[in-house]
């Protein structure tokens, strides 16, 4: 039986699923319910001098009627007194000793303030500390949050102050709102951080109300840039995690954050080296209960892959992410369309013609291939067809069964394999799983990268 037990920055935990510092970890009552649901740990909503929030605070990007593909917020850190948060940390730790509670901290940038905050959090019983150098809105205007994370020197300085006093592990949370996240990661590592967490939210304006012309989220007719998160940011997060985990000067145990809502998302972060993951938006959308499938699904996948623990597959994909110049230029794939699965939507056809390389054709019903028929020719032909309703008593052979069971050959596209560049687009737009596959073509050429090709050329006289 595989296990999800982990040890992150020296803190053992029943599973790698932690709640990120955010509204789902606002108070002890919530966190205890989350632990009951199965979450292994929680980063307390950032503790600091209580702030005043605005209303409203969130807005989202919907996509094709799916809600919250991306979420943004302009909420600040905890609005509750420090002592209330610390008292509740003690209470949670007393009741849930096996679960992990990390105190997320953000105070003004002076050594004394940080020392005092660190000491109070640890006295309250926190298992570790997360330094919020990432919050991109509001707090940054006051010289905190991403204002620290964006300047490596500040990041180093504060991490050093915290390490001077901290007895528990120190995790530095990084902002993605920076040209190269490795600069901040290196600064944290230099200053002695025990771990990193990435990414915090991304600067964003989610949308504008086209009736009122006011931006969202609307605060009395105005808005401010907010932190973007949710499924939309996962690819950005994965890239930054890979950058950090592949950089010797940056690499530390990393808690992966950004658009994680399923066990598959989590597995991808682990494969790029994350030690555990933090979740927020998916819980804000569906509640703590999503943890059940995250654990269950990950374990099932691990069983299928014969992985006993997270350590068995952590970072396995890192070595497969390379610079472009190291990719094999002689690797050739082409699209194959399975006609028994093709439903004849011809989205691959239009995508190839308008968005790729014009090598998919609708000529299978013709006597011979014809690559001269453009999409316009085909639609014009259809427009001229005279169609009538099939009526049994007027039309010999008219059937009223309705749906055509098989896709007519004229609608099943043909890939010109000679011209196909193997870009994948057709297989990406195809709505039928497994219908378009990208198959390797043996071109007899040995692997050759751009780096190799150019170095050979430059070595020639």
């Amino acid at each position: 039986m595989p296990t999800l037990e982990t040890n992150f920055v020296g803190i053992p935990c029943i599973n790698p699923f932690w709640l990120a510092s955010a509204p789902p970890t606002n108070c002890g009552e919530q966190i205890m319910r989350a632990f009951d649901a199965g979450w292994g740990g929680a980063i307390w909503k950032t503790i600091g001098e209580p702030i005043t929030n605005v209303s409203s605070r969130y807005s989202s990007v919907d996509w094709n009627n799916q809600r919250m593909m991306g979420l943004n917020n302009i909420e600040l850190i905890s609005d509750r007194p420090i002592e209330v948060n610390l008292r509740e940390i003690s209470e949670v730790k007393r009741r849930y000793p096996k679960h992990v509670v990390i105190a997320s901290l953000m105070v003004e940038s002076n050594r004394r303030a940080w020392h005092e905050m660190v000491q109070r959090a640890e006295e309250a019983g926190a298992d570790g500390l997360e330094l919020n150098f990432g919050c991109p809105h509001g707090m940054s205007e006051r010289g905190m949050g991403s204002a620290v994370g964006q300047v490596p020197e500040y990041c180093s300085q504060i991490t050093e102050w915290v390490k001077e006093r901290a007895a528990t592990p120190v995790i530095v949370k990084l902002t993605p709102n920076i040209t190269d996240i490795r600069m901040a990661a290196r600064a944290a590592k230099r200053a002695g951080a025990d771990g990193l967490s990435a990414i915090n939210t991304i600067n964003s304006i989610t949308g504008i109300d086209l009736n009122t012309l006011e931006p969202r989220p609307n605060v009395d007719g105005k808005s401010s840039h907010g932190g973007y998160c949710g499924p939309a940011v996962k690819p950005i997060a994965l890239n930054m995690v890979q950058q950090i985990m592949s950089d010797e000067l940056s690499v530390l145990p990393l808690s992966g954050i950004g658009g994680i809502g399923s066990w598959q998302d989590a597995a991808e972060f682990f494969l790029l080296g994350a030690g555990n993951v933090q979740v927020c938006t998916a819980v804000m959308h569906y509640g703590y209960r999503i943890i059940e499938d995250m654990q269950d699904g990950l374990l099932a996948w691990m069983r299928g892959k014969n992985f006993e623990s997270l350590d068995d597959f952590r970072g396995l994909t890192l070595s497969k992410v390379k610079e472009w110049k190291l990719l094999n230029l002689n690797y050739k794939i082409v699209a194959k369309i399975r006609e028994d699965l093709c439903i004849g939507c011809d989205l691959c056809y239009t995508a190839c013609w308008d968005g790729a390389h014009q090598c998919i054709h609708l000529d299978r019903a013709l006597p011979e291939p014809d690559i001269t028929r453009t999409p316009d020719v085909i639609t014009e032909e259809s427009r001229r067809i005279i169609s009538t309703t099939p009526i049994a008593k007027l039309d010999v052979g008219a059937t009223h069964s309705g749906a055509m069971e098989r896709t007519p050959l004229s609608r099943i596209p043909r890939v010109d394999e000679h011209e196909c560049v193997g870009c994948n687009l057709c297989s990406l737009v195809c709505p039928v799983p497994g219908c378009i596959t990208m198959e390797r073509v043996d071109n007899g050429l040995p692997p050759e990268t751009w780096e190799e090709r150019t170095s050979i050329n430059s070595s020639e006289p």
């Binding site: 094709n64 009627n65 439903i343 004849g344 939507c345 011809d346 989205l347 056809y349 239009t350 609708l362 999409p375 085909i378 639609t379 259809s382 427009r383 067809i385 005279i386 169609s387 009538t388 309703t389 099939p390 009526i391 049994a392 008593k393 007027l394 009223h400 069964s401 309705g402 749906a403 055509m404 069971e405 098989r406 896709t407 609608r411 709505p431 039928v432």
Partner: protein, 448 residues
């Protein structure tokens, strides 16, 4: 006398009919329309569009629903089909757009195209019902359209958009032909047909109602107009040719449907027999059930496999409570002054598929009302001396232009195709409209 607006207000308001013939398929809510529209794959050269006789850009109008561009959605529909609203209710979509949907081969549930189309059209009506395009610059040309059904309406719209005058001559008090008087009320209410025609009136189509065009008038119209469009539909329903057919209580399906739709009939007697098994027969039988008949039987010479009604119509009739007498042939109608019973000969199929009497016995079925629905004759007598080629009473046309063998005459709809659907008539009328415009233009070029 021109009545260019306000047909909708003239619709008879009969609460009994409205209560007994509510929408068979209720409209989509905004939320349901959004979900459904987002399910559409947006196929290239979509099969639904090809299957539609009017070639409505189905994925185009559905995507516009998804983006809340409802005005644009209605425009996309109307550009292709000026009767998009009634087609959304009356079309047998199982054998047209929805039957062609690629979803059948994917997750099996086709996109609810008809309901989405109705949603877009009703949104247009709800927002004031302004036609999203205008008449063309007046050319001074005029076309007379005989018959006011879907073919003529679609032809008139095409003509007006090209600045050609269009006057519709119709025998009935209200325009729309079978669209107004002949489609089951639970599919397309009479008032909805009129509402749509009001939209069309905005293009400046002129209507002459209660006007029966005979040979004399046709000659006059030919003389005073640049072209004539024939959209007269079919003629009367065939008679059985058996004793007792002139008894009271014997009617035909088209009259029966028209009369209940316009509120002239609001009840049905105990025992109703419908002779025939086509779509119109089913509409009449279902109507008799809803109007209160205790027993409604459909009487057909053959079995369910041979009936000409669409299978979904047959299923619907069974749900309504209609019963069926298969393999029987009417022999006589019995009664003193009004019909009391129908005498039937039982038939059986021989090896070569022909029908022969099973025995010499007769079955007598009680009947208070007998509705004939055994097909329509053709209607061409009014043509008089006008030389137009016919094929078994149907007007022969060039399918692309709608032109008849007489170049000044164009035709479309049931009188040319033998009796199809509203959408086929609209497609015919649309092609004829562009055909007439092209012909007039060509003639003008030849003269200058």
């Amino acid at each position: 006398m021109s009545e260019s607006t306000g047909f909708f207000e003239q619709a008879p308001q009969v609460s009994m009919i409205a209560e007994r013939f509510p929408d068979l398929h209720p409209p989509l809510s905004e939320c349901a329309a959004l979900v459904e529209s987002n399910r559409c794959l947006y196929c290239f050269d979509a099969p639904c569009t090809a299957a539609c006789p009017t070639h409505i850009d189905v994925p185009g109008f559905i995507k516009k629903i998804a983006t809340a561009n409802l005005e644009g959605s209605a425009r996309t529909i109307l550009e292709a089909n000026i009767l998009g609203a009634s087609c959304s209710r009356a079309c047998p979509v199982d054998v047209l757009c929805e039957g062609a949907c690629v979803m059948h081969r994917y997750n099996r549930q086709p996109i609810a195209i008809a309901k989405l189309q109705r949603y877009a059209m009703e949104s247009l009506h709800a927002s004031g019902g302004k036609l999203p395009f205008a008449a063309g610059k007046e050319t001074g040309r005029r076309v007379a359209l005989i018959g006011g059904g879907p073919a003529a309406l679609a032809c008139a719209a095409e003509l007006r958009r090209r600045g050609i005058g269009a006057t519709i001559f119709d025998a009935r008090p209200l325009p729309g032909g079978l669209n107004t008087y002949g489609i089951a009320e639970y599919k397309l209410p009479l008032a909805e047909s009129l509402r749509e025609i009001d939209l069309l009136s905005q293009l400046g189509v002129e209507f002459r109602s209660n006007t029966i065009v005979d040979a004399v008038m046709l000659a006059e119209l030919e003389r005073t107009h640049d072209a004539v469009f024939l959209g007269v539909g079919l003629g009367a329903i065939h008679r059985l040719g058996i004793p007792g057919e002139s008894l009271t209580g014997v009617t035909n399906a088209l009259d029966y449907i028209a009369e209940y739709k316009s509120g002239k009939i609001t009840t049905a007697p105990q025992n109703v027999l419908v002779i025939g098994a086509g779509n119109t027969a089913i509409d009449a039988a279902n109507a008799a059930v809803r109007l209160g008949a205790k027993k409604v039987h459909m009487v057909y010479r053959r079995g369910p496999e041979q009936m000409s009604a669409f299978s979904f119509e047959y299923e619907h009739a069974k749900q309504e409570g209609v019963r069926f007498l298969w393999y029987v042939q009417p022999a006589s109608l019995q009664g003193t002054s009004s019909v009391e019973a129908l005498e039937l000969i039982e038939l059986e199929m021989t090896g070569d598929d022909s029908l022969v009497p099973k025995n010499s016995d007769r079955v007598v079925v009680p009947a208070d009302l007998v509705i004939l629905a055994i097909g329509q004759s053709t209607h061409t007598g009014f043509l008089g001396n006008v030389a137009i080629e016919l094929d078994r009473g149907h007007v022969l046309i060039d399918r692309v232009t709608g032109q008849t063998s007489n170049p000044k005459y164009f035709a479309g709809g049931d009188c040319t195709n033998g009796g199809r659907e509203v959408v086929d008539a609209v497609a015919d009328g649309k092609r004829a409209g562009t055909g007439i415009a092209a012909w007039l233009e060509g003639r003008e070029r030849a003269h200058t």
